[in-house]
Symmetry: C2
Subunit: 303 residues, 2 copies
Amino acid sequence: MHLNPAKIAALIALAAPLPIAAQAPAPATEEAPTPNGVIAAAPAAAWKAIAPEDLLVMMLEGNRRVVIQLAPHFSQGHVGNMRVLAKAHFWDGTSVYRIQDNYVAQWGDRSEKKPHPPGMKSPLPQDYSIPYSDDLKMFELPSRDSYAHLAGFIDGWPVATDHDQIWMTHCYGSVGVGRNGPPDAGTGAELYAVIGHGPRQLDRNIALVGRVVEGIAHLSSLPRGTAEIGMYGPEQKETPILSVRLASDMPESERPWFEMMDTASKSFADYVHVRANRKDDFYILPAGGVDVCNVPVPIRSRP
Amino acid sequence: MHLNPAKIAALIALAAPLPIAAQAPAPATEEAPTPNGVIAAAPAAAWKAIAPEDLLVMMLEGNRRVVIQLAPHFSQGHVGNMRVLAKAHFWDGTSVYRIQDNYVAQWGDRSEKKPHPPGMKSPLPQDYSIPYSDDLKMFELPSRDSYAHLAGFIDGWPVATDHDQIWMTHCYGSVGVGRNGPPDAGTGAELYAVIGHGPRQLDRNIALVGRVVEGIAHLSSLPRGTAEIGMYGPEQKETPILSVRLASDMPESERPWFEMMDTASKSFADYVHVRANRKDDFYILPAGGVDVCNVPVPIRSRP
């Protein structure tokens, strides 16, 4: 298996999208900045540490770690329930039991028989959006959005708005709450992660509670379910969930540490501009626009 | 593993996106049509057979079949080369050697040492777009596009336009041609399929030649590459490609047969409308819009 240097360079240039946990950054050049170059050049002030209270660490069988960052503004009843569930070790011994291609990976207690721990709130309101306010200091994407008046970011999270309400958007890696038909809004015990093209039609129809910041491939590369809507069939082995813990409940030495780019920083504005206007060597025609799900917020592990 | 009927119904309602090869259709209801309902109700006249000359059948080790439909309007030099390569059995014995999460699966002759068969055209022009014309009878998506003046469909394929040129869009399942830096446009020997959120920044920068109509999960669920940009590392096993044939070169009894919805039909217009305005039981707020990559053209196998 040989690759000549020109080919390797071209393949690297082709490697446009950052994974959610950032790749090893490439050097920036003044002439043709790349998204990775902007990330590498961002000063320390452009990064914000993610609190261990906001990280859920899910261990799958086979030492596969998936880390989820909890969202701060939306569906806080669900997020609160998830903290209760993690502290009660509710998810230990449950499974990933649904993988639907170009859509979602879903996990939790498939039997629905496992008792919920005390302290959970139910039923929860359909608080899928919150009132829009200038105080939210939304970073507004200059590109048009196919689903809303405007898309952008607040406090590191992708959002869309009609200027009356504002809501999180379903993008690759987004984590949401399974539910039955409305008015049920789910409890937070059953979760899914998006593993395909952003299913934006779900925005404002289901509670988004966070995003996968490490290990999404441990979900996206699982075998697809053979039963309807990607449910695992009786001949398939579900993926056992060994444990789910808040990082803040783990010994400090075992905690993962992450930081995310401040979406109010100049670095982030530069990053968005470069993602919408790729002019580095591989590109012939810059797109001149970008959709909110094609701007993964840079997140990286830190020592 | 038990699921109560209400839960199953809710999960089915949650199963919004059609895979590229259509699922078993659900019945349509007058009150709240679903995308699957529109597909099921479409008359025979709304479907067009896909010619066997336009289908590439790739067999991966383990009896995994991936079927690619070749595009009719764009990058015809590349499509022509791909027919030559298939007839010469060029891809037999090559491999899938790159899987980058939320981006692409790539295959071909990683060594780049395998001689190309006679009859291939090289170098090929960068014909990534063609002049826009009303004669193309583009179905115009009513929703705004983040990357172009307008997005829509011609002859069953997703496209975008600035009303001067028109080009194919990079969506989940799209197949394109690996290349080195410009002006090289690649030959068609090295191919990739999109396995993540539509990387529209590649539009007009690389040759799109088709889409996967069956078996995308055989690519999207492969283990991610451990080396840079998802290249397989030395410890990983590439997926062997046993054969790639045009369906028209296979015995009739072994050929796959597919048909696609006519994107000029009323059924397709209905389908787009329903995808942009989901009002069936699970949905609380219809999106009121949809992006071109979230409208997979219905394709189904036929007897």
